[in-house]
Symmetry: C2
Subunit: 341 residues, 2 copies
């Protein structure tokens, strides 16, 4: 196949295979340069294809690849190495390893997708730990990249420095930000604030040709003062899960407060379109999944709750990353972090 | 003076001395058992007293104490040890040290208030690091205590275990929760998830007679599944600042979306009382400041932006903690964490 080739784990996600097939079809319609491998249980996928509007023209750019197994939420992330070698996520990653696909997209088991990407596709030279990056909508209307959110616990300074560099390349190449402002998450703005790890990571980044602006604080994740914020995967994971729950809680609480009386119900009805537009701004689905940075190919891991739109946008992110040869750009920049003799 | 005696740093906070004096007056009116030391620059406080409605009856339960200096935001936390020995926060803490007051309340420089409490009032035996606890409104309508949020970085397992025990005592004695559910913040529910520090802290807590329910995740800070969540002060600080910014951003964004058109403005007008009631639920001022746990007395540190209501509620929290002899209860429980020979 010509064009940019993305392997989609059709079986991954809470609404698979419907949301994944629907998203795949929309993506093929939207981007003529896209080619897809649709990976999964063909006995389940085949009967759905027509229903989801895959015309012959679209099928010319989609190749079905069978995988007999599916990773489920109860599985361990490492199951793909032994018990589930023929799982859809592993087969999709294998296509990237063999050079048949440029990238993989999965909405399934995050841990399994990370293991498949790190071990089957493989890590880039100079990257100790691939990092999962979350692209968050900030209050200035732009994206802020927070990484690692993939639970890389006990990070050393060089890991955090690598996260920062990889995030900076992603923000430039895929999000189109010019000279993204990069920070390290800490407990105060001043250079002296933080742990030995954050201070050493800062020292490394000051030597780099990135726009490093020192310590970022918790509030900077949302206020748009930074484009990229690097942190230990423990902190990133906690902040991300906490933020999802808080935002959901606030929006649900507001919805409930509109149900209080006939008057507020009427008000809610009038305000609905405006509130819907606002919620769209906060919608993680807009940015299409979290890239796993630091592997020898493109890997986008979506939220389990992804709907068709989120799948389509994750495929778009993978396509852009492939077009910009993201992992080669990362490789070049990370090499500059290595001790020079 | 009889009753429970609280020293208020009248000069601390963005709206001092007005918000602090107003809050003090309201507190004196509300709780007849309360006696206050009003600490600060008497040249500034004196002329304000009458304006803020301090009647002779109230003044019988308030004693003015002069302090010639005030800690400002630009100061270092440690300034109270050298350059600003006569600052209002230090003089207030000194009253606790001397046994004249049971507790101190300050809305000023958080770091300075922590240093004054830890070093002037002094740490409890068996407590390595006093912890700042944030009492957050959860989505079930109750409080969740998150600690440490005071930037105690690089915590060891015993520190986090101490935080958990102290938080549990606070939830029982001051918030009135029976057998509070205690967790340690980590990156997954399963016992195996987390760092060596969180796992060791969990092992310590399993030996204790508290209701320890294992790992809490980021979302558990808001969903009401735990009453007390202990974490490293780095993570706690980042989560707290991030949450404040996110909640503010969402509420501002919604307000803006109500300004879009005449229809949405009308809707906003109709919904205003309901939204106001909802915002009140989220209002940190309701719970009245963050207790610093692990010192030999009561110490409540409020948000710099505290208004009179927040000051009054912080005084109420200090009063309750004093009534329940909080620090003695903490001392007893923390002693059980010490290695028994």
């Amino acid at each position: 196949m010509d064009g940019h080739r993305i392997a989609l784990d059709v079986m991954g996600g809470d609404y698979a295979p419907h949301a994944t097939l629907q998203g795949a079809r929309e993506a093929l319609e939207a981007w003529p340069g896209l080619r897809l491998f649709l990976v999964g249980d063909l006995a389940r996928i085949h009967p759905e294809m027509e229903r989801h509007g895959f015309t012959q023209e679209l099928l010319n750019r989609a190749e079905l690849v069978h995988a007999s197994q599916t990773v489920v939420m109860e599985d361990k992330a490492t199951c793909i190495l032994k018990e589930k070698k023929d799982s859809s996520i592993r087969v999709a990653a294998q296509l990237v390893r063999e050079g048949r696909a440029h990238g993989v997209v999965s909405m399934g088991h995050t841990g399994a997708a990370m293991v498949a990407s790190s071990l089957v596709i493989g890590k880039l030279e100079g990257v100790d730990r691939p990092a999962l990056a979350s692209v968050l909508p900030n209050m200035k209307g732009g994206p802020t990249v927070l990484l690692d959110v993939g639970a890389n616990v006990d990070c050393r300074a060089e890991h955090i420095a690598q996260f920062a560099v990889m995030g900076s390349v992603y923000a430039t190449e895929v999000l189109g930000l010019e000279r993204p402002r990069v920070g390290i998450l800490s407990v105060g703005e001043e250079d002296g604030k933080g742990t030995d790890v954050t201070k050493d990571a800062s020292a490394m980044l000051r030597q780099m040709e990135i726009r490093f602006e020192g310590n970022a604080e918790g509030r900077d994740i949302w206020n748009g003062n930074f484009d990229v914020i690097a942190c230990d995967g423990f902190v990133g994971n906690v902040v991300l899960k906490s933020s999802e729950a808080l935002a959901e809680g606030i929006l649900n609480g507001l919805r409930d407060s509109f149900m209080e009386s006939a008057i507020t119900k009427f008000a809610g009805l009038l305000a609905k379109p405006a509130m819907k537009r606002f919620k769209k701004k906060l919608d993680y689905a807009e940015y299409g999944g979290a890239p796993l940075l630091g592997v020898k190919g493109v890997s986008i891991i979506g939220h389990g709750r992804s709907d068709a739109k989120a799948v389509r946008n994750a495929i778009r992110a993978a396509l852009r990353a492939a077009e910009h040869r993201l992992h080669e750009r990362i490789q070049e920049r990370v090499a500059l972090l290595l001790p020079q003799d």
